[in-house]
């Protein structure tokens, strides 16, 4: 099975994602330049972090019209696995593959630090290796991580168990004090209704090796791999 990592002009976390899949997970992976239109042969596509198109106009707004995004929409519509990390999440939101939008962080600062997130839904193909409510230590690095959706959208997310991660304290308290960026309902990561597209602001690829301070993020990649393995035998 093969992983693909989309690279837009301005993406800068593609190499970290590549490293985790190739050298830590030890699975086949290739880069996909944003002008490519063929995603055949891939089982999972990763949209990495960075500053695609310099965040011009709105973060992710221009990248969503890159040639590869049409193929990505088809890929996602088929139920194939997609994960958007940080800028990747922002691009998925602009492309409407996930609902909602990112606003500027409430305190207007670029925030770069380790945070704790709680696993709210461990029944997804991304979080199956985490226990319910398991707390993960994963870094964030963003200026626009303030997730917003209207009241009806939030109700939908809650009713469909689409909220996968929430910012919390080291002991799992979810409240304003442990919300780094003002995100609605402390939302740090969501999935689509079908459960095949995940978007998250924290960087699991920067938390995939214990030498970097935490390897909590590794199990997200491993969970995806395990899921893909089960699909092979169907």
């Amino acid at each position: 099975m093969k992983f693909g990592i989309l690279v837009f002009p301005g993406s800068n976390c593609d190499q970290d994602c590549f490293h985790v899949v190739k050298n830590v997970l030890k699975k086949p992976v290739r880069y996909i330049w944003h002008r490519e239109t063929d995603l055949s042969g891939l089982d999972c596509v990763i949209l990495p972090g960075g500053f695609s198109y310099g965040d011009y106009l709105r973060t992710g707004a221009v990248a969503r019209f890159s040639p590869v995004m049409k193929a990505l929409a088809d890929f996602a519509a088929k139920g194939s696995t997609v994960i958007g990390i940080c800028n990747g999440f922002q691009i998925l939101l602009e492309a409407k593959l996930l609902p909602g939008i990112m606003l500027r962080n409430k305190n207007l600062h670029f925030i770069c630090k380790h945070v704790y997130i709680k696993t709210e839904n461990n029944h997804t193909r991304f979080t199956s290796l985490y226990k319910k409510d398991q707390i993960l230590r994963i870094p964030i690095a963003h200026n626009e991580g303030n997730y917003y959706i209207d009241a009806r959208g939030l109700e939908d997310l809650r009713n469909n168990n689409q909220i996968v991660f929430r910012y919390c304290s080291a002991t799992g308290e979810v409240n304003d004090q442990y919300n780094p960026n003002g995100a609605l309902d402390n939302i740090a990561g969501i999935i689509n209704k079908h459960g095949n597209v995940l978007g998250m602001m924290p960087h699991p690829e920067r938390s995939a090796e214990s030498e970097l301070g935490s390897n909590d993020g590794f199990f997200l990649f491993k969970a995806i791999f395990k899921w893909l393995e089960t699909q092979k035998h169907d």
Partner: protein
């Protein structure tokens, strides 16, 4: 034909940048500010003069790319001919 497009956050969306600028202006002594909101202006120069076509196309551009309808609204002014 020149078109000026104004893109602003919807009233229901918090604008911390606007608030920060308001405080900065207040610290300069301006005490009568009810509100300050930040937005964007996009200036597009079209190479045709057909007003109806311009309105149609600018609306499309705003809906497809320039404004995100979840949090932004837009309005535009057609400024007339030439540069």
């Amino acid at each position: 034909m020149i078109v000026e497009i104004y893109i602003t956050l919807k009233r229901t969306v918090a604008d911390p940048q606007g608030l920060t600028v308001k405080h900065a202006l207040e610290s300069l002594g301006y005490k009568n500010l009810a509100d300050v909101r930040m937005g964007k202006m996009v200036v597009i120069t079209l190479d045709y003069e057909d007003k109806d076509k311009a309105e149609r196309e600018i609306n499309e551009m705003c809906k497809k790319l320039l404004a995100n309808p979840i949090i932004e609204e837009y309005r535009f002014k057609i400024k007339g001919q030439g540069a």
